[in-house]
């Protein structure tokens, strides 16, 4: 086998594998659209926002399908989690890059990686037996939007911290050396040079963490209370799209099942939109550099 023919073979092979992966994503999209079509035709988009409650049934005429409180649940838990996790993650990355001695920074990074590897159900169990009773003592019932936000924040913190760390590490060293040569303080270097230079990477880190928060199921299911109702305060229970699917899928038939697939479709579209945003931000950086 000559080197050039090997090269061709490898190229073909890689193209085929890439095509398989790309095709998988398209198939998932197509499958979700096909499975949720009955919900779109039988129930109709308007009923997903106008019905009085979420009491789906196998027969569209008898159920009610208001998805808004569930959508709000997903948005509120994810947004809350990112509000908590983003500053913590980004500033811990700054600490790691600028302030920590290299050995401590190394140890710190390994610990964050370990944290990223803890299975979500473990966080959920901890939330259920420790965090929820704490919140219940503070303000009953306990399983609540607040519990969901805190558990999710804990889970996405390593994602933000590691990606932000990588973004800060990719800032050209000359910038920092230049700042040092100008005699700038560490504070000024951080706020005026490091963070603005790494901005696109930091935004990507936050968006990817947000994607993870939106998709998280098990831990959220265990601590959020899962009542379908617009929460009036942090202590009210909420239901997310993912936990709706997990709780009801086993029992759902026909139009109810289709409505759950519609939930899945909404999730996928939300994630797709966020990924497009992340991509736009990282593009902007490349153009600025060029």
């Amino acid at each position: 086998m000559s080197p050039s023919s090997k090269d061709r073979l490898l190229t073909t092979l890689l193209q085929a594998l890439a095509a398989v992966v790309g095709l998988l994503v398209l198939l998932i999209f197509a499958f979700l659209i096909r499975e949720s079509t009955p919900a779109m035709t039988q129930v109709g988009l308007s009923r997903f926002v106008a019905d009085e409650s979420w009491h789906p049934s196998a027969d569209a005429a008898h159920g009610s399908f208001n998805l808004l409180p569930i959508l709000a649940g997903t948005l509120l838990t994810s947004a809350g989690a990112i509000l908590v996790a983003a500053p913590l993650g980004i500033f811990s990355a700054v600490f790691c890059q600028l302030y920590a001695p290299p050995s401590l920074g190394w140890l710190y990074r390994r610990m964050i990686e370990l944290m990223a590897g803890v299975p979500s159900v473990v966080y959920g169990l901890w939330g259920l037996v420790v965090l929820v009773p704490w919140i219940a003592a503070l303000h009953p019932p306990g399983p609540s939007l607040l519990a969901g936000i805190m558990i999710l924040a804990l889970m996405i913190l390593p994602t933000v911290a590691l990606l932000a760390d990588a973004a800060l590490a990719s800032v050209p060293r000359e910038y920092l050396q230049g700042a040092a040569a100008l005699g700038l303080s560490r504070n000024t270097t951080t706020c005026q040079i490091l963070l603005p230079a790494a901005r696109s990477g930091l935004v990507t880190a936050v968006i990817l963490a947000l994607v993870r928060a939106i998709g998280e199921t098990m831990a959220v299911l265990m601590v959020c209370g899962n009542v379908v109702r617009m929460p009036a305060s942090l202590f009210d229970p909420v239901r997310t799209l993912t936990s709706t699917i997990a709780l009801e899928m086993g029992y759902a038939r026909d139009d109810h099942r289709a409505a759950l697939f519609a939930c899945g479709l909404v999730l996928l579209v939300a994630v797709a939109v966020l990924i497009v945003f992340a991509e736009l931000f990282s593009r902007r950086k490349t153009h600025a550099a060029a």
Binding site: L128, V132, A136, P140, G142
Partner: protein, 282 residues
């Protein structure tokens, strides 16, 4: 160059493995259907599924040519699958409805549902009217039903669960009118939720509740209509909030399916029934 070659070989190996794994998966289905293996498929109630699994394992050990395949999806799915012929046996964890009288029904055990509160709650019993008041949101403080001054946290089951159906039909509640503070999936989650919140009330399987109570989980089982919840009361049929665990078939069962159902009803599996905190039939 040699490194590149190695990478290339590695890639090939991965691809081959993938293909082999793919073939293996699709192949295993074939090898089962040929030869003399008979497959019994059970679908339905997630309450019965663990029991059916254990019974199936024991049945397989006695009948090497039989495979017992258990899938969950709720009692309604059990009924639907049996009607459509997708499953040989359906698992239904409630009394069959009138419109389901076309099916053959075999009860293998009973399960009771009881109300639980936190151990520290001074309430010793609730009347049916008080339970209805709590679950429909008319009473939201334990003071309203003779307890101490604390907010009531109402723990309810997720829509579609047969425990919820049983609870609603006994107390004549409409699931849409229940004002829940927490919605849970399975019994364990319900027990952990109540154990973690002194003001809460929930309902779970008596078997699970007794098991957890004996192992020191701080919950209290409340009587219903004056009858204390216990396995014995469920077995003799005097406990009101109880349900049968049924196996259903479309036609009168024959062959291995008949053997399996007879086996599941026999005293040979009573230890399995009790192990899963259900109550065997007398």
């Amino acid at each position: 160059m040699s490194q590149q070659l190695m990478k290339f070989h590695l890639l090939l190996a991965v691809l081959l493995l993938w293909l082999v794994a793919g073939c293996g998966l699709s192949g295993s289905g074939q090898s089962d259907s040929d030869a003399e293996t008979t497959r019994i498929t059970l679908t339905g109630s997630s309450t019965i599924a663990p029991l059916a699994n254990e019974i199936g394992k024991r049945f397989e050990a006695q009948h090497p040519h039989v495979r017992v395949d258990v899938q969950t999806g709720g009692s309604s799915r059990g009924v639907a699958d049996v009607r459509r012929g997708l499953a040989s046996i359906g698992m239904v964890s409630r009394e069959l409805a009138e419109r389901e009288s076309d099916l053959q029904n075999f009860t293998i055990a009973r399960d009771g549902v009881c109300l639980i509160v936190h151990e520290s709650n001074p309430i010793e019993s609730l009347t049916d009217e008080q339970v209805v008041a709590i679950y429909s949101g008319q009473a939201d403080n334990w003071q309203d039903v003779g307890g101490s001054d604390a907010a009531i946290t109402v723990v309810n089951k997720a829509e579609g669960r047969s425990t919820l159906e049983l609870f609603c039909s006994y107390f004549k509640l409409d699931s849409k009118t229940i004002q829940a503070d927490v919605v849970i999936g399975d019994n364990e989650q319900g027990i952990k939720t109540v154990a973690g919140n002194p003001g809460s009330i929930g309902y779970v399987s008596i078997g699970s509740a007794e098991f957890n109570r004996e192992h020191g989980v701080p919950i209290k089982l409340l009587p219903i209509a004056g009858i204390a919840p216990s396995q014995a009361r469920v077995a003799d049929g005097s406990f009101p909030l109880a349900r049968p665990l049924n196996l259903v078939t479309r036609e009168t069962p024959t062959g291995v399916v008949q053997q399996f159902i007879e086996f599941a009803q026999s005293a040979e599996v009573h230890d399995l029934v009790e192990e899963l905190s259900f109550v065997p039939l007398q």
